[in-house]
Amino acid sequence: MSLRFPSFSSIRDSSLFVLTLAGVGWLVLRGGEQLGYNWHWRQIPRYLFTYTDGQFIPGPLLQGLMVTLEITAVSLVFAACIGLVTALLRLSNSTVGRWLARVYLEVIRNTPLLVQIFFLYFVMAPIFDIGRTATAILALSLFEGAYASEIFRAGIQSIHRGQWEASHSLGLSRYQAYRWIILPQAVRRILPPLTSQAVSLIKDSALVSTIAVYDLTMAGRVIIAETFLTFELWFTVAAIYLLLTLTLSALANALERRFPRIT
């Protein structure tokens, strides 16, 4: 019974949810009205894309989105690598390795990302002659890598000691045990927290607009400076980020269902 029909309390919850949303929407509209804000939603689509002479031309927002996607995707790969290596260093027998990892973690996690971006862009980039986009990717990878490493470490440590002992007793080397026994099991546990880290990465990537990387946020800022469509554009930009992160979460869910064996 209860499976087929939504119960009274779930109907009440849903109505409350819709009501709250409507209330917030109404407040924003009223606020806009009181500010004397003129909504120009009609102008927004052309900043996303135009369709002329049967040709699809991406607007600045979509171009910015592509940059955001590119930076995020590359940083995600690097962050995962850095995270894994740092976690393995922290769990290694090497004192130097453990300390290196510790220093890296403490520095990254205890300074603001914005300052790290500025430091890399204004100090390191000129020295090593690296471009804006590369600097952005480097900053994001280093920052998210530190958090990813804690996720990896927790995942690896959550694997029961018996798995290590069984691997050792079969004569597997440390590397072989990691490669075939420990990491395959840890990855499944790591996937959900790693996804939320990836979501953070997408959101944090907005900060690279401060060093004039033409990402989604930067595109929004530029258009606003030209058109003063502040409300519409920030709503749109936020909606695009939301779409991106929700898609990613759905993707991770699907991925998780693909390895049902590992618990």
Binding site: G162, Q163, H168, S169
Partner: protein
């Protein structure tokens, strides 16, 4: 090469030599306190004693899962020392079966048994699979070859774990309370496999509470307490005419 000649000509040489083992876990009493024992080829040695007496620690030191603080362990003429190569070599010659099975949950039964053959013995997948099929037949689980550990009963898991350890063709098998985590009706099937192994001449060191098994299958029994040997004797002698008062006490309690 030299090692092989040595082993072949000297069959009476004990395959396991453990001398004056000391193992102290920080902040507790010594788990092994000047513990010495030797095991001959083909011998089945049962280690008994109250919990916390150091039985498991002894087994775990034998294949380097725990490092001894002092003393000497030599297995099949290979000294177990800080040398990583020796440690890996010994682990390849010594199979271990754990109380909690420790099968790899993300791998099928076939993959569990195949893995070390391919990684450690560099066998092809085909060769390994053939050996695995034989081993699974031996432990009576041929029909479970494609299954996963969580689909098996405890007894079945432990039999797979034995097959997995045997897959490396070890010269010594260690059993660390292999039946203690099992429901009573499954203990028999695991003990049967162990009995078969003993009959085939496998050198075995068995930590167990199964006195029936010890009496029937073992050649020698070591009774230990507080990291020391209280009494070591041939099985018959141990059960019928224990020399120490403490041993008599212990046997009275558990028999």
């Amino acid at each position: 090469m030299e090692k092989n000649i040595h082993a072949a000509t000297d069959q009476d040489e004990p395959i396991i030599i453990a001398e004056h083992l000391v193992k102290i876990f920080p902040g507790s009493v010594p788990a092994l306190n000047d513990f010495s024992v030797q095991v001959k080829r083909g011998e089945v040695l049962v280690v008994v004693g109250p919990s916390g007496s150091g039985k498991s620690t002894f087994l775990r030191c034998l294949n380097g899962l725990e490092m001894i603080d002092s003393g000497r362990i030599v297995i099949d003429s290979i000294p177990l020392d800080a040398n990583e190569k020796n440690r890996l070599a010994i682990r390849r010659e010594v199979g271990m079966v754990f109380q909690s099975f420790n099968l790899f949950p993300h791998l099928s039964v076939l993959e569990n048994v195949n893995l070390a053959q391919c990684l450690v013995r560099s066998k092809s997948k085909k060769e390994a699979t053939r050996a695995t099929e034989e081993l699974l037949a031996k432990v009576g689980l041929s029909d479970k070859i494609g299954g996963y550990p969580d689909e098996l009963s405890g007894g079945q898991q432990q039999r797979v774990a034995i097959a997995r350890a045997l897959a490396l063709r070890p010269k010594v098998m260690l059993f660390d309370e292999a039946t203690s985590a099992l429901d009573p009706e499954m203990i028999g099937e695991v003990l049967d496999v162990m009995r078969t192994l003993a009959e085939e001449g496998m050198t075995m060191v068995v930590v167990t509470h199964e006195m029936g098994f010890a009496r029937e299958v073992s050649d020698r029994v070591v009774f230990m307490e507080a990291g020391r040997i209280v009494e070591a004797a041939a099985t018959r002698q141990f059960f019928l005419h224990p020399a120490q008062e403490r041993t008599r006490d212990f046997l009275r309690q558990i028999l």
